[in-house]
């Protein structure tokens, strides 16, 4: 096919992930407005806070692009710097998610409270797990690149970049369907 083996494997994996998140988002949407008791979305959401964390995650995608660019140029130091920036972006996002979850629990929304709580935490929880795995992958990538374990740093960085962008795209869908839709 002329596409690197690992890149092709990543694309098929991401195709699979589309169905994974598609099923989770479909579950959220089909249970939207079906909760028998509160708290309801508008009782707990704070669009300003989530917009900031969304912006942070989108910015991390830009950092990822720059990391791939420098990896392809062979500039390992700049690549490592942008990998670090991407990881920080991911960690900040996870921090926001931790804040959001604990705030929601404080407001009385748990997994058990209602369908909104169950669908919200499972969907965004799995997304957060994907971000965490991404941070781990980026850390491993940086370490392996620095230690010279990679035959083709550019290609490997691009493959992990694909994953990172995918996780971002999923968040755009979640942010739109779960958060923004409540304000229309």
């Amino acid at each position: 096919m002329g596409v690197d083996n690992y890149k092709l494997a990543m694309w098929t994996f991401l195709g699979s992930e589309c169905f994974f998140f598609g099923s989770l988002i479909g579950t959220y949407m089909s249970y939207r407005g079906k909760s028998l008791t509160g708290p309801y979305p508008l009782d707990v959401f704070d669009p300003a806070v989530t917009s900031i964390s969304t912006f942070d995650l989108l910015a991390s995608s830009l950092f990822m692009v720059l990391a791939v660019h420098y990896a392809k140029m062979g500039d390992i130091n700049k690549m490592l710097a942008w990998i670090g920036a991407t990881m920080v972006g991911g960690l900040i996002f996870l921090g926001f998610q931790y804040y959001e979850f604990s705030h929601f629990v404080h407001e009385g929304l748990t997994l058990k409270s209602n369908l909104f709580g169950a669908t919200f935490y499972v969907l965004t929880g799995f997304h957060g797990t994907h971000v965490a795995v991404g941070v781990l992958l980026l850390g491993s990538l940086g370490w392996a690149a620095k230690r010279g374990h990679l035959a083709n740093v550019g290609e490997t960085t691009e493959v992990i970049g694909l994953y990172w962008h995918f996780v971002d795209v999923v968040w755009i869908a979640i942010f739109t369907l779960v958060y923004l839709l409540e304000y229309t």
């Binding site: 096919m1 699979s16 209602n114 374990h149 035959a151």
Partner: protein, 629 residues
Amino acid sequence: MATPAAVPHTPAVGHSASPSGLWSWLTTVDHKRIGILYGLSALAFFVLGGVEGLILRSQLAVPNNDLVSAPLYNALFTMHGTTMIFLGVMPFSAAFFNYMLPLQIGARDVVFPRLNAFSYWLFLFGALVLNVPFLIQPFTHGIDPSSALAPLTRVIPDGGWFGYAPLTTKEFSPYLSIDFWIAGLQILGIASMAAGFNFIVTILNMRAPGMTFLRMPVFTWMTLVVQFLVVLSFPCITVALILLLMDRLFGTHFYIPSAGGDPLLWQHLFWLFGHPEVYILILPAMGIVSEVLPTFSRKPLFGAPFVIFSGITIGLLGFGVWAHHMFTTGLGAAADAAFSVTTMLIAIPTGVKIFNWIFTVWGGQIRLTTAMLFSLGFVGMFTMGGLSGIMHSSPPVDLQQQDSYFVVAHFHYVLFGGAIFGLFSGIYYWFPKMSGRFLDEGMGKIVFGTVLLGFNLTFFPMHFVGAWGMPRRIYTYDEGMGWEQINLLETIGAFILAFGVLLFIISFFRSMKNGLPAGDNPWDASSLEWITTSPPAVHNFDKTPTVYSDRPVWEKNHGPGPGYSLPEGDEHIHLPPPSIKPLIGAVGVGLFLTSFVMLNLTNLALAVTALGLALIFYSFYTWFLEPGH
């Protein structure tokens, strides 16, 4: 992901004897050995599932029978279905994917050999999680129901292979049986998906020079379609099972109607996986039949591109028909009509294939080998199953047939008469390549006759008794319903069928030792696996062939084109060294998921999940740093 510059290249071990011993099997990354492991495991579980089926049939032989209790009957039909689908047919197909696919496309191995080994070990772990409960329950069924260990009293999965919620929720199934089923299926799902990524990349990237898409063997094509179905449909059941586990472990209400949950969510997610799964089971058999019929008719496959595109169409349409399993849930006229139409549409590409197979045989120089007989049997039996399937596509008809033995008859015609006949055909066809010996042809014909007779005696009468109203999944029935004679006949048929399978197993192991020696290309077949030695060397091909035709070996031998050519001079052969990391990783994933479902039972489970995670990290990081890959 990649390796440092200094790579210790393994010498071309294929020129010497293959390594032997238990360790060499535990660490193997050779697609042929992994194929053999899949095949032998599948055979073992196929026998186990068959024995479960025989017990079911024995229980139903006479009215008001008490051979097994109702709860045990539930466990047996659950495990019969789960075993035959996930541990019988799927790994049998995987055995051929593993063994034959790299050979058919002229490759030395799959693209990620260690991932391939990981898939197998994970599959085996999942299979054990589902079946070890048979050994545990005799010791735990007497536990005091008021004790903290009460969930252990029933551990054999017993919620049906479809696991319908809310039956499987904590309220109605407070036992570990459902948790083991969830864990087993999640593990098998990961194994299948990992294999799926591997095979998709292998087929797309590892083909020999000159092998364009339309020169790929049809079996390779069907494998490709199946792998796409696997990687796209398994995530749906993964999510369905995660939500069920959340309900059972953490008190969510995804499937609990009293809290607003909708049991239909389970059915949608399950059948969104479940229907593509049907094609995951049947398409490999269709691929095998598309290899066998032309070979033994000495003709090219009639309209091969149509067979290929029909397979792709079946795969695509397979994602748009899931709700025909749910006509009786009252989805509404619009949904019923839409899913009825898409279901009927699937009959078109399927019919195209059946006519192509018939026209392939038409006018050919037919050799009635056992492989050919099973393939011809496939076409006949599968067509019957397909026709009753078209009946179900009409909602009013389906309302009558749902949950009756008519449905049982239908899916055994497609899954046994279809998938398993196809797989038997593949075994007889490829056994000489895998072992260097023929599988006893004389005995093979007896096997075919016995299996065909036993199969039809068992399942054909189910159409009638189902139409007369006998429901599925009942553990016994009263006298005077008019079902006695037919049920007895079915049970006799089941034992004839089992006898046929027993004959097959005996002749299989005898032929492995004493079979007549077969040459490299005993059937005068057309695809690349037949230019390797029988059995193939560890490195498969001394030189990578260049392909000029969709029937390279046939054209090389019979013209008119050159078929394929081999390059001049010696080729550098790089084979990855063996590795234990895949096994460790699979044990890690298996331990993690199996103990996770038991988190509420004991704190020990938490420790084991941590151990599982540690093994996963250890295996993957050392895997990445392992030299030579």
